[in-house]
């Protein structure tokens, strides 16, 4: 029973989600919206599990007898969590917590935003080091990768057009880059997208039919 009932639930819900697309009549037309709300609710419950797990792992690391150098960072994690938790739950006007001027917003703007923006900005460096390493003409395929990247990069920089300014219109680097993006690039993209659609259909069917149910664990 520990696997049969869940398998039946997945089957039933999956089939409903497919047929609702074709039936505008109530209640089917709005069923997916309802399910999506339910998903949100379950996820909102589940985040308690995640948060507790994070705190447990962090505090265990800090309070363990092992005198590792890194042990105090666990306390920093827990303290940061509690800081924003207390301010967001009790000190920022309830569900208006995100309104500019709230204490929560102050933390958001001055701690959260710089951290996440800077983490994101590291990509500027990583994209440079990855392209230096990856774009080498090691084989025919790698050469195509290199050539496409090279032309598109040059075409997107204004310098590309300055280099080829003597060429007639239609043959400048930005136009070459646009051509690569609109034709060969779209061809590959299309093949990938159609393939994905089939892959999703197949994987979804396997899940709905209960052929793949490792997510349910054992008996």
């Amino acid at each position: 029973m520990r696997r049969e009932i869940p398998t039946a639930i997945a089957f039933f819900v999956g089939i409903i989600c497919i047929i609702q697309f074709f039936i505008p009549h109530r209640p089917f037309g709005t069923l997916v919206d309802v399910f999506s709300d339910w998903f949100g609710i379950v996820a909102a419950f589940a985040i308690w599990l995640g948060a507790l797990n994070l705190l447990k792992v962090s505090l265990e690391r800090s309070l363990s007898k092992k005198k590792t150098h890194d042990r105090w960072y666990g306390l920093v994690v827990a303290a940061s969590f509690f800081l924003i938790f207390i301010i967001g739950m009790f000190m920022s006007g309830g569900d208006q917590f995100q309104v500019p001027g709230s204490r929560f917003d102050y933390l958001y703007v001055n701690i959260y935003t710089p951290l996440s923006s800077t983490m994101f900005a590291l990509l500027a460096f990583f994209v440079a080091s990855a392209s230096y390493r990856a774009f080498r003409a090691r084989s025919w395929e790698a050469t195509l990768l290199l050539i496409a990247a090279f032309f598109v990069m040059l075409g997107r920089a204004p310098v590309g057009d300055q280099l080829t300014g003597f060429m007639p219109e239609g043959y400048r680097l930005s136009e070459v880059a646009n051509w690569i993006m609109t034709y060969p690039q779209v061809a590959g993209q299309r093949a990938i997208m159609i393939g994905i659609a089939l892959g999703v259909a197949s994987a979804s069917l396997r899940l709905i039919l209960g052929l793949e149910r490792s997510y349910l664990g054992g008996e």
């Binding site: 009549h25 995640g50 996440s116 999703v200 664990g217």
Partner: protein, 411 residues
């Protein structure tokens, strides 16, 4: 009881504006004609579609129509009730859907053309003219969405093909499946971790369980965890969503059980960091630099964090096997990882690794689906190319019935 062309002020009762109107010469626009109301098709009920022919002064003639108001009244045997405005449409539109009707109630509609007329006072005055009322219309819900018939056919063909081959495979038919390089490397990658005595990190994407790629990533985790259990490698699964954490624990536990090493499983192998995209990336980067895992798996849905994770993994020289169906992130994994499963291969991976006939059958079904799509494209292109010989193809809309592509348009 209805004047077919009534002149009304925007502010009823403001009689002082009326003389101004007579001084300001421009006459009101001509009314909209041929106004019809009918149940909006392909919906769950509760809406009526009103259509009309544009006023002769809308964009032409006197060019003074600014917008249309749509008015509605409930019809009854004793005559229609009062008309209320239910919405408006800017000039140029000839259609409006009233989404606030009650099913089974008889409604009639009027379309009012509005024009703004300059007045000596400075502020322009709105003048309006009403159309003839429509006949009675009812709204109700439909049981089948006709504009989605083509999608239904598609679903039936694709799912039918997959189910057929699953059926075939379970009756014991041999199936050939081509090599997928990234997946053949799983054993090697896990084995290396054991030899080096280092960890394996498995990252099932950064999205939640409502993303099917996450489900695919988790299913692959089941196979990888089994190999890890057999090789006695140490596996860690840091995740970004609580639901994913719960599911991954079930999957890994089951895999260790199947590999005959249930005692080696521990809930702390799967842990949650944060839901946040870059907070998670920061956490993983730190873990990777400190633990120096020998092998990293990235299987699931990723966004911009893909390259942050993969470059950091690359900098410590780990073997990296990635798989995603996020077209925008594929280039980064291809550049920074040793093996990358591209799009559809991610969804094929669990079947490939399991070697279960039924699951392999579904791959063959996918292929049949692809073959049918290829055929449809080919036939479509040939037909439209012949149909459109010497026709102006600068705009596909001009092809009319020869534009076969529109058969595939789903509403």
């Amino acid at each position: 009881m209805l004047a077919s062309a009534a002149i009304a002020q925007t502010a009823p009762g403001d009689s002082s504006a009326i003389p101004a109107l007579t001084i300001a010469q421009p006459p009101p626009p001509n009314p909209a004609t041929n106004v019809k109301a009918e149940d909006a098709p392909n919906d769950g009920g509760g809406s009526i579609r009103v259509t009309w022919a544009a006023s002769p002064d809308d964009g032409a003639g006197r060019k003074n129509v600014a917008s249309y108001n749509i008015l509605r009244a409930v019809s009854s045997p004793t005559g229609a009730g009062a008309f209320d405005t239910v919405g408006s449409a800017t000039a140029g539109n000839t259609e409006f859907t009233d989404g606030h009707t009650e099913d089974g109630i008889p409604y009639i509609y009027i379309v009012e053309a509005l024009s703004s007329v300059p007045s000596p006072g400075g502020t322009p005055v709105m003048v309006s003219v009403r159309s003839e009322p429509t006949g009675v219309a009812y709204s109700n819900g439909q049981w089948f969405h006709m504009r989605r018939l083509n999608a239904l056919i598609m679903v039936i063909i694709v799912c039918g093909a997959i189910l057929y081959f699953i059926q075939q495979a379970s009756s014991g038919k041999e199936l050939f499946i081509r090599k997928i390089a990234g997946l053949d490397a799983v054993d090697e990658a896990v084995g290396r971790a054991t030899e080096m005595g280092r960890k394996i990190f498995y990252i099932p994407g950064t999205q939640d369980m409502d993303e099917v790629q996450t489900l695919a990533g988790i299913t692959i985790l089941g196979r990888v965890a089994k190999v890890a259990a057999e090789y006695e490698a140490s596996l860690e699964v840091p995740v970004s969503r609580s639901l994913v954490m719960v599911t991954c624990r079930e999957v890994v536990k089951e895999a260790y059980l199947n590999a005959g090493r249930p005692e080696a499983y521990n809930d702390s192998m799967v842990y949650y960091l944060t839901d946040d995209q870059f907070g998670y990336a920061a956490g993983i980067d730190g873990l990777v630099m400190r633990d120096k895992p020998s092998t990293l798996f990235f299987m699931g849905a990723f966004y911009a964090e893909s390259l942050i994770l993969a470059e950091t993994g690359n900098s410590i020289g780990a073997i990296q096997i990635a798989g995603t169906a996020m077209p925008a992130q594929l280039p980064f994994f291809v550049a920074a990882c040793d093996y990358t499963l591209i799009g559809e291969e991610l969804f094929a991976a669990s079947a490939y690794l399991s070697k279960e006939p039924k699951l392999l059958g579904s791959l063959k079904g996918q292929d049949l689906g692809k073959a049918i799509i290829l055929l449809a494209i080919l036939v479509g292109i040939v037909m439209t190319s012949f149909g459109a010989i010497s026709m102006d193809t600068s705009d596909l809309d001009k092809l009319g019935n020869y534009n076969i592509g529109q058969w595939f348009e789903v509403q």
